[in-house]
């Protein structure tokens, strides 16, 4: 026992180093799984308060651009409203809206946003109290922005599209091909669309939107447009580079998307796991 004590005393410095590094590494590893990092979850509220204090001061500098984007969005929604109104009038068959999956949107401000790490995060100023929950999508008025990973009472933390964990089912509008979109860690406005087989004709400028199998985003939410493409090293699939629609660098206002009935759907899917 004494010898053990002497050993510990003699090597306390390297042992302490190993202990601290082990703690740090275990934090890194625990973050690789959803819902598991209890330590950081409990600090999320503190983090959110600090950032929203800073954000509430700097918000005033962005009022004009925020206003402009709201006006644009309003104009677009109005245009959409008028076209649907005309459609309903011209044919009198009503569809039962309950058959369609619908979505609730909750507006929120981004209080903190990183872009130059390998895994980037958005801190949003709504939390559990306003209905935010993990695995809900975050969209801007221009397209997809992230997925909520942790929530605290008044704030939530979302992985940004610029993150290695981010993956979304996507569809090319022009030919209906379905693949998945990820970020390769290089440019803040460029995503990669994979799993599109090489016999499909791809053209620069084609639009890519959220596909039908996404649990986070409504179908047809814009993702981006095709910038360039190349064959993967194996040769049977494309790597298609997309220009991201959302201006992720200057993200201020977002909507948290809640898919109605998603719990029911997930419960059903979990039956076979």
């Amino acid at each position: 026992m004494l010898r053990l004590f002497l050993f510990l005393k003699r090597f306390q410095y390297p042992l302490l180093f190993i202990l601290l590094e082990a703690i740090a590494l275990s934090l890194i590893i625990s973050n690789l799984q959803y819902h598991k990092s209890v330590f950081f979850n409990s600090l999320q509220e503190l983090n959110g308060i600090a950032y929203s204090k800073v954000e509430s001061t700097t918000k005033y500098f962005h009022l004009k651009s925020m206003n402009d984007s709201l006006l644009l969005e309003n104009a677009r929604i109005k245009a959409e409203l008028y076209t649907t109104y005309r459609k309903v009038k011209s044919d009198s068959i009503f569809q039962d809206s309950i058959k369609h999956l619908s979505y609730n949107l909750v507006p929120a401000y981004v209080v903190n946003n990183s872009i130059d790490n390998r895994n980037n995060y958005l801190t949003i100023d709504i939390g559990e109290n306003k209905g935010a929950n993990t695995r809900m999508g975050v969209v801007s008025d221009e397209g997809i922005a992230g997925i909520i990973k942790h929530v605290s009472p008044n704030y939530s933390l979302a992985i940004s599209v610029l993150s290695s964990d981010f993956r979304v089912n996507a569809r090319i509008v022009e030919n209906g091909e379905i693949g998945s979109v990820t970020w390769d860690g290089r440019f803040v406005d460029r995503l990669v669309l994979k799993d599109i087989p090489s016999h499909i004709a791809i053209e620069v400028g084609q639009k890519v939107v959220v596909g039908p199998y996404s649990n986070f985003f409504p179908e047809n939410t814009p993702i981006g447009t095709v910038l360039s493409y190349e064959l993967e090293s194996g040769g049977s699939f494309y790597n298609i580079y997309l220009k991201l629609n959302t201006n992720i660098k200057n993200l201020r206002m977002v909507y948290v998307v809640e898919k109605v009935n998603v719990v029911e759907q997930q419960d059903l899917e979990d039956l076979e796991k």
Binding site: L20, A24, G185
Partner: protein, 173 residues
């Protein structure tokens, strides 16, 4: 002594706030931002016990982690720097009179040794940080470019901080 400790605490808090609320929002070329918080480990006195140094380094990294949503990578990199610092400082202090240098600054070290000292520490930190963050050798050329750019920018910020706060204060003492 108490006054010294308070000064160090103020530097700790100031560096954390500067890092988290100012420098984390600077995105040069859209891929790098400077890390200045590591300067706190550079500035601690030479005589500080090794174990306190390493614990302080760990805590510093952890605080940065909490505010940058990075989950332990800053803590790991910063602890590594704290662990290696005594070895490195030994290189510079043993040459001259050990009593003369109480804190590692340009004043005591000289310009060239100080730049070598801070550059080595920052390089170790950034290398560890980015390798942990990216965690793969894919696209290694790009990662290396990112690391080199970040080191260059961080060293500029660290030297500015050093010149602002310590060229004058060492005159007073």
């Amino acid at each position: 002594m108490i006054r010294k400790i308070i000064i160090y605490i103020v530097h700790f808090l100031f560096l954390v706030v500067l890092q988290v609320f100012v420098l984390n929002n600077i995105h040069l070329f859209e891929i790098v931002h400077p890390y200045i918080y590591i300067y706190f480990i550079l500035l601690l006195p030479v005589s500080i016990p090794k174990t306190s140094l390493i614990i302080l380094a760990f805590l510093l990294g952890l605080v940065i982690d909490v505010f940058s949503n990075t989950y332990g990578i800053h803590a790991a990199a910063s602890t590594l720097v704290g662990f290696l610092r005594p070895l490195l400082v030994g290189q510079f202090v043993s040459d001259s009179d050990p009593d003369a240098i109480i804190e590692p600054h340009i004043r005591g070290f000289g310009v060239r040794p100080y730049i070598i000292y801070s550059l080595t520490m920052i390089s170790i930190h950034h290398l560890a940080l980015y390798m942990l963050e990216i965690f793969s050798f894919r696209d290694f050329g790009f990662t290396l470019l990112k690391i080199l750019l970040t080191i260059l920018i961080s060293i500029v910020f660290v030297l500015i901080y050093e010149l602002l706060f310590f060229l004058k204060s060492s005159d007073e003492q």
